[in-house]
Chain length 459, copies 4
């Protein structure tokens, strides 16, 4: 960050590099938030191996920054090389797809043929593990580049599997300043905000007013406490879920969602099941929570019973191949994401306490030091200071720790390109309860399918 | 131990109390070995809540010690109270059945109705957990009695679930001198002795010549190395299991066993599958190994594929109700068990290095301090000194640690009589992948069935 | 806290109990800050075994709250019993003197006769340990009372030895909400603020603008980093202390201080010596830092060489016996202490990030879980959330850990009233390098002197 | 070890390399024991940078193996290069002097000028640290050579500082099979054997009959229990040292020793002082024990009070420069050392349980994993299996851990050639309580004196 002293009223000049700058989802959101931020200005450089996609986002950005509602402007361009994007950057945003979208077939459809279904398949389970094997080498590459071209930059990562991608950065370049961002916790806050509105007969509060104690790993995080303006929300939640019928069969809701292609909708029934069984509230969507334990995904009907449906592979492909309009709306509206706010905080312009994926230095009691965990942290001038979480109950800690160990094995397997070790990680996954010989056949099939994305493996 | 100084040629006078002294299996074996031990003499007092069974063993003992091949004699009697048996004892042997044998219905048949099958069901899985809930209060009771009536005695425990029973003793009476014994590792040594005979064209060596590095928990233990007279056996094992066809479908063998009621027979195929997949050899019977992981027991056919069959509940009941002859054979033959040898070693009469279940004080790297683990130890004068094990590979350590945590939760649940915590332990078990609501229904059914054995629970 | 919902413009009604309410130093400061706080109102109840002293503070408080510059009013009274003070309290402030001031003779003068001098003697060293033995039973008593009469209250402790007193509360009542406060770190911030004024030619910034990374234990805390508005201050500090002559003999300054009774003055030379030798800045006064290591206090002259002088026992007695005026000044001025601000933050009225003494839950990497450590924490609505500190360099961590272990031994000795264990703690102290037999004689003399304050010891 | 299978009655053929083969003390002892061992034969190759010394030992060896009392013979030669000695070796013995004996001036006399005296000065304190800085690069060099020329050999190290030398081997070559041997514990056993003789009116037992529980680090080891044939010796020891006058001033004994140059004589008064104060018996000579704590070595008179005298630098030089006769005695007598017995055990020829310096894998509860510790271990066929020690009392564990951390810092400083880090280790040593500036001056003087032995340092 070139100029640290500033009068508060001047815009801060920064350079942001965006790796995966052709991103159809995170890219436009991030640029919109940037356009709405009066404190920042400078240069935004997009890099993508799909240069057309990057150029499309450049065009969109130019419209955004020229919009009458924009509060600042950035010089935006697409870089031919990642070096060109990274050199001199103050911040690096990373959101990539590891390999062509059709690789998701191996993540989702091959395991399904062996009886293993996944509601998301990009974080954990066979799908998450295979995706990690593709993503790690890419992250490894950029970690080294970042330390070469912009070693003092902050790296904000949005890619799934979030934990393993972030851990790749901190493992291969221990002095990198990187963290992972995820909005799943925001949804939990939104859900609770809705309940507060109802319970207290007040206007729906901003999600940031819902204070959580949080511990876990990305997409498998838990609120050990929740309050709003000093009101403890847990007793009310317990009463609500204790009511007759609360956990009734939600298959009708699931069928409705199937019919209407509402892949992401759910009723937090699994999040609440965790609260009922173990005393802590799942703080991610049910689609995610379901994948980390062996209880909800034995057959598709069982998942429906909790109101959750599978996101189909076909829809994923179709969405990506759809012609992205990337049109400007008449109004530009904040995305609700926090990347730009985090940048402001790291520049010392504002304080922020939020959830973050970060190597454990003590903030998550009971998990290994160095494992990437999701907890709250204070973002302050050029520093992230994790807040120590409350301890998870023994049962949940055991579940989380199990997954964390699988992630560690997966990362190591990906770094040393070891099929055997990767297979051990896969066998250890709670979703895998098929015989070892069938699991091996499945894994070989998966690897064969994606082998072009793993060029330096012996396959 | 009253008289510590002795001339080596005199018999040592000791008192042994046997809790569960009516035992049909361990009892006769132990008394036979005692009769064959020239160094010991003294008093053996049997206590059993089934006083008839104890008296039957007294009769058997009198025959044994009067047998011409016997090398010593002991005064044997049945005690009316455990206090009478324990007072002044130098050694306490414990082998009990926690509740009537029909309780095993709840351990085995109720889970089967919910789709969870177990090959043994007395150590882990739903059956092992329910059995632990019954056994812990009994062990808790005797732990206190032992510290009251014979606090300096050594306690040798043979009851399953071995780990949790032993842990009960060391948890509720931290200064008790207790350990758990199991012969499963002997079978692994025997199996390897057979291979040595074949590979080296030598007479089959004594199992004690097979040197193992051992780490794990009872029935889920692993040899990280094996040698015979300095010859590393692992390369030969790896070659053997790498041969075409080694892991072929063993359903024919299983069917043969089913037909002939050879419930305990197996081919160590699962023990070798661990070696193939993870680099360490399972050091327990396949019936046990299969229960700790979710891969082999999804359906009965799958288990057969590995050559293993289920031990049926009906056989268990029938065996127990069968009229025990407890007759004397024409020759009395050493059982192959080590209880008496351990007594000799603890008396300082001989040295012994053998496997033992004992609280972890450092001997099992990577497992929690205090958790009962199975490793080798040196038995010496009034002391057990564990040998530090080699580290298990990360994958296997993760599996073992997972089970160890479940055992800890089960023990705590049993000690505080918490249905909720016990249910968490059950949900955490690798064999349980049914939905949480079905699991709860199953668990309630199991508890209801055995509720008479859990008098101070709120059920 | 009775009324959690409030409109922000109304004063919050709270009850504060002050144990040691006759305090001449912390008492008036706290009441002054309370009078200047527009957000609070309610009841302040002082309890002191010296009821005269408590009444004197009641009179002072009434003047303060009636002062035209006061921004609020509190009902103030002295309670006859601690129960009367504590019942229903929202906050409890504790600042006590453990035993008559003449007990300090045993803390300071008896060790001096054996060649052990201490610059403060209330935190560590023989004096700190003896003082802890007196303070622990008192804190133990109040811990139980607080959990009986106001279990939901927050306890703010100001008594030395800070670490051991705070640890007493959390050890004997694990669910107590207690923390310890100390202003030594403020002085470090003030010192750095003075340097910022000089280096950057700006008006002296408020100390809160000096951002520190902090780790250690009370009075032996270290800044691993320091910045002001994003400017890293460490390179400038290193340059400053690297200049020729910076560490020159400061005996002249010491002699000047001796002559003028400036007992507390120093030049931070020892704090900077830590920076020079180990890379981290001592974040407490030199009088304190010198006592935790064996290098500066071998003889009084050596201490003078660093510009520090001993605070004499005679002055301590005289100060306490001096007739306290407790007069009101014409203006009432904020003390600079943070107790009232912390209360506001814990009520959810404002956010505060400050240093705090609190049991380690992960915030201090490398120190034992549960040990009371001094780090930064976020004070928020009814919660203290520690921030994870940077790791201390191995050398300093070793020193801090050593002292932390001594504190643990001292606390345990005090709780079980063990002279032998207390002596082990004393022998382990870095200031004690006299022969064990002389140390024992010294310790016996010390204990004999204070034996009336240790009624339930066998002395 | 080339030929693992053998008939038990044949001599085993091995190759032993001796680094430091000109050794005047350990060399002749080792060769004598070898000559008395009927089970071994083969080749012994001596390497020494002082080739004359190596040749002198070759001559001595030839006399020894030709002696009528010799039970075997070895081919003995001096190698020109260490490669020549190491290639193909089954065992490597290392006993070296790190630098010329005159370097000991810097170890002993320079600190003395600054007021720091040491009774031995080769293990800990300023002398031990400086000696370590010289020894580590040498051990580092041979570690690499051993892994190149004889990676399967066992390395037996006799050099002081024992802990740091052994740790060098395991740190720079983690797969090396190395351990350190020391006879100090034997002396404790001898001392206790003498007491057994007296107490039980029996012939003095062999020291191996004294069973110890042992934990600590070399020269600072402790017996937590001691027994002889099942008789607990601790109650008798406690009674003995509790008698009036036991700890009386032993200055007369010290003066007698001074006069008669009995540098190594002592009365175990310090070992017993540990027992009296902390409950565990020091298991090394008082000369060593005194150096690890700050209580006995403040001035020389104080050391005399415990019956111990300093070993003078002048005597050390004189002994080394004395013309070594290395003559053969009329009888050849076992040295009492265990090197040859350890070789037999590692060859699988006999079992041995003895004390050993070895990286902590769990055998020393409370010390860091990887730190070299001294405990008992079982030596068996090609393997050392440490026995888990009893926990040391908190006080002693704190002292041992402190020293272990200093050793870790010293080793790291030596490996990275860092003067600053080495100085931190020195400041942390319990014997160093001089001001930091004086300590720095002292350290610079020490380093300057030995700078020729530290060629790749920046001094």
């Amino acid at each position: 960050m070139k100029s640290r002293k500033m009068s508060e009223d001047k815009k801060r000049e920064i350079k942001i590099a965006y790796i995966g700058g052709g991103s159809r989802d995170w890219g436009p959101k991030f640029m919109t938030d940037l356009a709405l931020c009066p404190n920042l200005s400078g240069e935004l450089v997009l890099y993508d191996i799909d240069s057309e996609a990057a150029l499309a986002n450049v065009r969109l950005a130019n419209l955004l920054f020229a919009h009458p509602e924009a509060k600042t402007t950035f010089r935006v361009r697409a870089a031919k090389t990642s070096k060109g994007a990274l050199t001199g950057a103050d911040f690096v945003v990373m959101s990539i797809e590891p390999g062509p979208i059709t690789m998701r077939y191996a993540d989702l459809e091959i395991p399904r043929a062996y009886g293993i279904i996944q509601s998301v398949g990009d974080t954990t389970g066979p799908g998450g593990i295979l995706r990690a094997l593709r993503a790690v080498p890419i992250y490894q590459h950029y970690a080294h580049q970042i330390m070469e071209y912009c070693p003092n930059s902050w790296v904000i990562s949005y890619t799934n599997p979030m934990t393993i991608c972030t851990a790749t950065l901190s493992t291969v370049e221990p002095s990198i300043k990187a963290f992972g961002c995820c909005h799943e916790v925001f949804s939990t806050q939104e859900m609770l905000a809705g309940l507060v509105e109802k319970w207290f007969a007040v206007p729906r509060p901003d999600r940031r007013e819902i204070r959580l104690d949080l511990a876990g790993i990305n997409h498998f995080t838990f609120a050990t406490a929740a309050s709003w303006k000093g009101e403890d929300l847990f007793p009310r939640l317990r009463q609500m879920i204790g009511e007759e019928g609360f956990f009734n069969d939600h298959t009708p809701q699931a069928l409705h969602r199937l019919e209407n292609h509402l892949w992401f909708d759910h009723d937090s029934l699994i999040a609440f099941d965790f609260l009922a069984r173990f005393g802590v509230l799942g703080a991610a969507g049910d689609r995610h929570l379901a994948e980390f334990v062996p209880w909800y995904l034995s057959i598709e009907n069982e998942l429906h019973r909790w109101g959750v449906i599978l996101t189909p592979y076909s829809w994923r492909v179709e969405r990506m191949s759809r012609h992205s309009t990337r049109d400007l709306q008449s109004h530009i509206v904040s995305s609700g994401e926090e990347g730009v706010t985090q940048i402001l905080a790291l520049l010392g312009i504002k304080h922020l306490t939020t959830n973050v994926n970060y190597p454990n230095r003590g903030q998550h009691p009971g998990l290994e030091t160095g494992a990437v965990v999701e907890t709250f942290a204070l973002f302050t001038d050029n520093e992230i200071r994790p807040l120590v979480s409350k301890s998870l109950p023994a049962m949940v800690l055991s579940l989380v720790n199990h997954v964390s160990q699988i992630q560690k094995m997966t990362l190591e397997a990906a770094l040393i390109r070891s099929k055997e070790l990767a297979f051990q990680a896969l066998l250890n996954d709670p979703l895998v309860r098929i015989p070892t010989d069938q699991a091996w056949a499945m894994f070989e099939e998966m690897l064969t399918f994606v082998k072009d994305t793993l060029p330096d493996w012996s396959l």
